[in-house]
């Protein structure tokens, strides 16, 4: 067993354990943190595949931004676990069916003719100065530029829609305009009065 194998099996073990933890741990904050751990170990596995850009992007986007906001929300919600577990057995057959369909779909792809060892040989190692990022950028902005732009526009539309749906215009709301606030001068707020000192009784 070489050094790479040891790293691979260690990371895989941590990944599977933490992914199981995400759905079994009772505390939602712990569960979110275990999801972070599984993202990080997944990034480690991608690094072993020389996909350094994707690995770092995973950490940057999912660990650095998405999960922070997720934790933010989970920490502020008071989640009642008993109510969440209500009706577990009622919905279990439905969930199990969906899980089964997913397993069948994944195995159809993995066991089919596309992912055999003959079709997908071990990728050949690249030179030290080979830049994954450059290659990815070239592909995204030349060959797949329309698909890429389309995906970007889709995300933008989703974002605008989310904001538009949750933004409520209230008439009685009091808001401040910081631009006006910083322009306030001393004369606008403060009136100096010069008056005689009062005599002591």
């Amino acid at each position: 067993m070489s050094f790479q194998d040891i790293i691979f099996y260690t990371f895989s073990a941590i990944l599977i354990a933490s992914a199981l933890g995400v759905i079994t741990v009772r505390n939602p904050v712990n569960s979110a943190l275990l999801l972070v751990l599984s993202f990080v170990t997944c990034a480690g596995l991608w690094l072993l595949l020389e996909a350094e850009f994707l690995a770092i992007a995973l950490v940057l986007v999912y660990v650095g931004a998405v999960m922070v906001l997720f934790l933010f929300v989970v920490m502020m919600l008071d989640i009642n676990l008993d109510r969440l577990r209500e009706g577990f057995w009622k919905w279990f057959p439905f969930g199990a069916l969906i899980a089964l369909v997913m397993v069948v779909e994944i195995s159809m792809v993995l066991m089919g003719k596309y992912f055999g060892l003959e079709e997908m040989p071990i990728p050949r190692p690249h030179e030290a100065d080979y830049s994954n990022t450059r290659e990815l950028g070239r592909l995204i902005y030349t060959e797949y530029v329309y698909a890429f732009e389309l995906a970007a526009v889709l995300l933008l539309v989703a974002m605008v829609a989310a904001i538009a749906l949750t933004l409520r215009h209230r008439e009685d709301k009091k808001s401040t305009d910081p631009a006006k606030q910083v322009q306030v001068k001393k004369e606008d707020r403060l009136r100096m009065v010069s008056m005689q000192a009062e005599k002591k009784e």
């Binding site: 712990n30 943190l33 940057l60 650095g64 922070v68 906001l69 920490m75 830049s131 990022t133």
Partner: protein, 365 residues
């Protein structure tokens, strides 16, 4: 070096020997970075107290000295503080989540130290010379927030939780502006490797540094860096007068000191990155005889020290921002500026060769 490598290979065999040799040499290098860094943090706290004291016409720490030497008065202060912190008891509140409470300082300091792996100190002196260095830095600095959020939540205290919430929102918003400012640097240098970014600023003098073509980005990066490290005037996460001490209000002794170390090593990291991206890293200001005789490492240290001085100067000068103003500055001022600058820079880079080779543009493009 060759000799040691041979020794490892004869002892452990070809594959494992090379692996263990790489491990041993990297560990040596890591200690050579981390130990001076922690000493730097210790003396940065001393510098902060002294500089702010002089700005406020006080004297600052002037008692603790080494071996009774009178002209070193005050210089023993950081060492004394460290010893004091180690001796103190770490109190874990009864209502706290013990595991996460202890984990939080570790998560705070880990990215602050790990990001140093890709920093080039001179053309040859870099631990990991990777192609995606800049991305790695962004990923590592974005993980620093976990320490703060977990500390705030695990303490099971209202003040700590408020501090963590404030800090999470602030750091996530300023990270965007910071990332966009770095995109401009990336466009200029056309490389993600930090060594190549410094080399891209080479040329006759300081006019070639990215500071000049990207001056607004320099300001955005520096100010976002102050916000990102939760320093004054953006220190609402701590906000002594509002929420006691924010996220670390329940921490004591060494656990508190680790947060302190993380904050200051993050400060040094931001200062180093600013020097590398905008101030030419190890390059001397003018490529001439008296300046080139000083080694590049010293130039880098001088630039870092200058940026750190700015950090301390800000703290002594500005009152704390109000929270909504911080958010406004990040989202409504910095992000539009950076987006406009990216478009402008892209447009300039696509100009015909003949225009780009005329005088002011020919220096940078």
């Amino acid at each position: 070096m060759e000799y040691f490598q041979q020794q490892f290979i004869t002892l452990f065999g070809a594959e494992w020997g090379a692996m263990l040799y790489a491990f041993a040499s990297n560990m040596t290098f890591i200690f050579a970075i981390v130990i001076p860094l922690l000493l730097g943090v210790a003396y940065l706290t001393f510098a902060e107290r002294k500089i702010i004291a002089y700005m406020q016409i006080r004297v600052g720490p002037n008692r603790v000295t080494f071996f009774g030497i009178p002209w070193l008065r005050g210089w023993g202060q950081p060492i004394a503080d460290a010893v004091k912190a180690i001796m103190k008891e770490i109190v874990i509140p009864t209502g706290a989540n013990k595991f996460l409470f202890v984990l939080a300082p570790v998560l705070a300091i880990m990215p602050a130290l790990a990001a140093w792996a890709v920093i080039p100190f001179s053309p040859e002196l870099v631990l990991a010379d990777i192609n995606a260095g800049l991305l790695y830095i962004l990923a590592m600095t974005s993980m620093g927030i976990y320490g703060i959020i977990i500390a705030g939540w695990a303490s099971n205290s209202k003040y700590a939780f408020l501090g963590a919430m404030r800090s999470a929102a602030q750091v996530v918003s300023y990270e965007l502006a910071m990332g966009f400012a770095l995109v401009c640097v990336l466009m200029m240098s056309q490389s993600l490797n930090l060594g190549d970014i410094v080399n891209g600023q080479q040329g006759g003098s300081f006019l070639n540094w990215y500071l000049i073509p990207l001056f607004p980005m320099f300001l955005v990066y520096l100010i976002s860096g102050v916000a990102e490290t939760n320093r004054a005037p953006f220190d609402v996460a701590e906000g002594e007068s509002e929420i006691v001490a924010g996220f670390h209000v329940d921490y004591s002794g060494m656990a508190f000191t680790v947060f302190f170390l993380a904050e200051y090593s993050n400060m040094i990291l931001v200062a180093t990155l600013t020097s590398i991206m905008f101030l030419g890293g190890w390059l001397p200001p003018i490529d001439m005889a008296p300046f080139t005789m000083i080694p590049g490492f010293v130039w880098l240290l001088l630039k870092i020290a200058f940026i750190l001085f700015l950090f301390l100067w800000f703290r002594a000068t500005f009152p704390r921002y109000r929270y909504d103003q911080i958010m406004r500055l990040g989202w409504k001022v910095f992000i539009p500026i950076t987006l406009i600058w990216i478009v402008l820079l892209g447009a300039i880079m696509q100009l015909p060769e003949s225009i780009r080779n005329t005088f002011p543009l020919s220096i940078w493009f």
